[in-house]
């Protein structure tokens, strides 16, 4: 028995400690995390300050956008003559709010429905999954575009619409993992201990699904930014009175803007790419924390 005990080097670490341990060994992830925190703080505080001090929608009538050098502002004026430096804070905040909201709510629904479906299996699973399949069949882009042209284009409406289609994928993912976990002995073992099903599902099985959830959470976060940006780019996103990173890039569709006025779309593009990259790097580190098998020794 003595030799068995010597396998321990120290007290087991908490999850947060493990995360920092991972960060120490992964410079890319730690830099990303710092950048991400800095970007998020800047955006949210900046947007607050900008909105309380300036009128973001203030228009200086111009026939064409004005470059930073000629306008005396940091990022120049856009095609309507709005101050881009002010605009980007509000735009980024709106985009982030939407992607966070969509990801959060679609995971709430996805987890609850997926775990219940996977845990019980059989008939319950069959019924739930057929409903999910049916819902999944509805053409997402068409319905969103159609509804957005009817409904008011505000942040909550946008979140609700995207969530309504995004949870399906989460539910399927969680259901697949839950189904395999529910066959494990520790679930049976918990049942033999007299633990109620609801506790087994969400307190014992769910933590085992964290690796899938975290990885997918990050992807969904990045994807939601992408979807929002894409829809806005096509002109079906937020209205002109709700600036977002997508609407800021919208001008890039025009070849003339693409070639001659890069300051109109470049800042938003750079910001989107930076956020997506950082989110992914941090996500990878998180995934290693959640899954001991991927951890650095």
């Amino acid at each position: 028995m003595q030799s068995l005990e010597s396998g321990f080097s120290e007290k087991p670490k908490s999850l947060l400690k493990l995360f920092f341990y991972e960060l120490k060994h992964d410079i890319l992830a730690s830099v990303s995390l710092v950048m991400l925190i800095a970007i998020f703080l800047t955006i949210f505080i900046g947007a607050f300050i900008v909105e309380s001090l300036f009128d973001v929608m203030w228009v200086t009538p111009r026939p064409l956008p004005v470059s930073p050098a000629n306008s005396g502002t940091l990022l120049g004026l856009d095609s309507l003559g709005r101050n881009q430096f002010h605009l980007i804070f509000v735009a980024a905040r709106n985009s982030l709010l939407i992607s966070f909201g969509v990801t959060f709510f679609s995971f709430i629904f996805g987890i609850v429905i997926g775990v219940i479906s996977g845990f019980y299996g059989g008939k319950t699973d069959n019924i739930i999954m057929r409903i999910v399949d049916t819902w999944n069949m509805v053409p997402f882009l068409m319905v969103v575009i159609a509804l957005l042209s009817v409904l008011s284009r505000t942040v909550p409406v946008f979140i609700a619409l995207l969530t309504a289609f995004s949870w399906v994928g989460r539910a399927r993912l969680l259901r697949a993992s839950a189904l395999s976990q529910s066959q494990m002995d520790y679930i049976s073992a918990s049942k033999t201990l007299g633990t109620p099903n609801i506790v087994i599902m969400f307190r014992e099985m769910l933590p085992n699904l964290v690796d899938v959830t975290v990885a997918n959470f990050v992807l969904t976060l990045a994807a939601s930014i992408g979807i929002e940006t894409g829809l806005s780019l096509l002109g079906f996103g937020l209205g002109w009175d709700f600036p977002s990173l997508g609407t800021m890039m919208q001008n890039a569709i025009n070849p003339m803007y693409l070639q001659h006025f890069p300051w109109v779309w470049a800042p938003a593009l750079v910001l989107v790419c930076t956020i997506m990259l950082c989110v992914n790097f941090v996500g990878n580190a998180l995934q290693r924390v959640a899954d001991p098998k991927q951890r650095y020794a």
Partner: protein
Amino acid sequence: MDDILLSINNLRTSFRIDGQYYAAVDGVSIDIMHNEVFAIVGESGCGKSALSLSITKLHNMNYTRIEGEVNFNGQNLLDLNESKLNKVRGKDISVIFQDPLTALNPVIRVGPQIEESLTYHTNMNKKEKRDRAIKLLSEVGMVNPELTYASFPHELSGGMRQRATIAVSLACSPKLIIADEPTTALDVTIQAQILDLLRKLQKETQSSIILITHDLGVVAEMADRVAVMYAGQIVELASANDLFKNPQHPYTRSLLASIPNVGEDLHRLNAIKGIVPTLMYMPREGCRFSHRTPWIDGSMHEENPDYHEVRPNHFVFCTCYKDFYFENEGGA
């Protein structure tokens, strides 16, 4: 007899395959006494595990049908709904699983897993539960119980994990522990340690153990009484002593004959001809072992086999035991 702890009565567990139900456990009746180690042995696919899982109703009921009675404390466990069953499981009946790695939740520390059943069956507060868990861990032979308490399952070795699962199952001092091949996933030295531990704990707590195994050595070491299972039925039921000294049923005798003896010069190991028939092709009439002893005259078997008490408390299924001989022995 009020000495009976658990009484299984004509239990039939069937699984659905292609829309039809096939019985994996076919009419099993046994009584488990207080304070005894009852072993169930048999080849793979004999229905041992199906039987043990039926007692706690752990089968996936989407494709399983369980008939018969499992009487425990004056109630039929099979009639209870999930929430009533939960009051019995963990408190009075607990299970030790075969593979200790999958039986422990990989993302929860060992200590809280031991406390789990205490949460639902006792009114202990946090401190009491922790004390009890640490006491259990030291009882099952952990050198540093406090450290183990805060460890994750993957930080423990196989033997330690199995000790931890035993601690989990002992938490509420159950009256009956179902050990489903508790040593199969472990190597031989650890097996011996775990068996010693189980026997020691059984003596201390006076609880009963249903020991499911295919290892006759384990049976000889542990069991008070033994049931030999074949093709979903119990073919021989006797005290461990009787069974090893005086095996009766052809199946039991074949099993014992296929254990190689040290010092015996064998070129080939003795084996039982054929395999256990799969569920779908299992003969449902007559003696189910007959087709694996084709050299035995068919008239030896009963048409509707029944139990025969060859000596007090030693039961054998079917009459073919009377004139059984091994193929290489020639006719009797």
